[in-house]
Symmetry: C2
Subunit: 224 residues, 2 copies
């Protein structure tokens, strides 16, 4: 494991390590189930064990790691059941967000901000699976922002959505990506039409399809 050159400012050590490890996990540079040994991390990041321990606790609280007493931390692997349950929850929360967003779209200023944020989904170029994860996240974040419920936005970030996507990234075929983009456009149209019922339905349909893909992929990939 190579040493890390960039030195973060005072007071940013733990945050820097958290961000670094989170990226590593989402990019699959650290495999699910892999163990994170404190002594290895101290040498990799050149920081004290105390900072490493704080970072690991935080990542465990965010759901990226599992903390096993006396046995360290391992990268969390979501089971098929967990993914199914999470999508069930996401459907409710995102449907709520879509309804709220459809109402908020009446305000010209908010509407303009939303339109700017989702502009990329009207781009016709084909998508790369990896880059699309970011575009997808940005779209859903834009809906959450327009909805105006801060707690909802914060909560959505803790639904292990990035973890799920990372686990299912290999299942993103060009067809699936194109379908996802189309569904996003339907959602956006309903919101911009200030039609809460249509927006609600569009979001649920979109997530049902996304869930099916994620579940199939995980089942195939030994996701017990």
């Amino acid at each position: 494991m190579a040493a890390e050159p960039a030195e973060p400012a005072h007071g940013e050590t733990v945050g820097h390590i958290v961000a670094r490890l989170r990226d590593d996990i989402l990019a699959r540079r650290i495999a699910p189930g892999e163990r994170l040994v404190e002594s290895e991390l101290t040498s990799r990041f050149s920081v004290s064990r105390g900072s490493i321990r704080e970072a690991l606790r935080l990542l465990a609280a965010e759901g990226f790691l599992e903390h096993l007493p006396n046995r360290g931390a391992i990268v969390r692997r979501l089971t098929v059941q967990e993914i199914g349950e999470l999508f069930q929850i996401r459907a409710e929360l995102e449907a709520l967000a879509a309804r709220l967003a459809a109402e908020a779209a009446a305000d010209p200023q908010q509407r303009a901000g939303f339109e700017a944020a989702i502009a990329p989904i009207f781009d016709e170029r084909p998508r790369e699976p990896c880059a699309y994860l970011a575009e997808n996240a940005a779209f859903h974040a834009a809906v959450m922002t327009l909805a105006g419920n801060r707690q909802l936005r914060d909560l959505a970030l803790r639904l292990h959505l990035p973890l799920i996507m990372a686990q299912a990234a290999e299942a993103l075929t060009p067809q699936a990506l194109a379908a996802s983009v189309r569904e996003h456009r339907v959602i956006a149209a309903a919101i911009l039409d200030s039609d809460p019922i249509a927006a609600d339905a569009a979001v649920r349909a979109h997530l049902a399809r996304a869930a099916a893909i994620a579940l199939a992929s995980t089942r195939a990939g030994s996701g017990k």
Copy 2:
């Protein structure tokens, strides 16, 4: 601040401190906005500063504390807006749980467990506000358990519901408590009838009333 005699076992230090401080916060022994100084806590609990820091990080991740860089941790105070947003989310999640629970109630074994768990709500004795918080939490937990979605249950615990209740505890008049118990019975009846639609509606009505009380109380109590 008195010293703490009971010594937890090895490997339980941090968890013990977290539990202790969480109780203190929920019981209002530590006021919202109050600052938690690491050195004070080390002497109170007779543990090292490292353990205290880990405990504070965890409590911040759970939402009980706010962590201000270089300025320590303070007990979180929810604003009227935050409480409103949280109830909006809770309504969706608990309504989902009620629907799932109504379906799960068809299974005799699960039904029996649920009936046992909610038995206290059919008790006719008057309630004490403080003790009722526990009974209320137990009821909602029982619904979540019957629903069978683990992620939903875990997530509901992070909705700062205990914090809200603690903030609004003084608003729990005998009338409000009696109304809450009656509403619980309506919810339970709908679930035991395996009627998802009625259960959904009953939960939303219950939470709408609870939200009104919590918001009014917080507004009155300088909850900006």
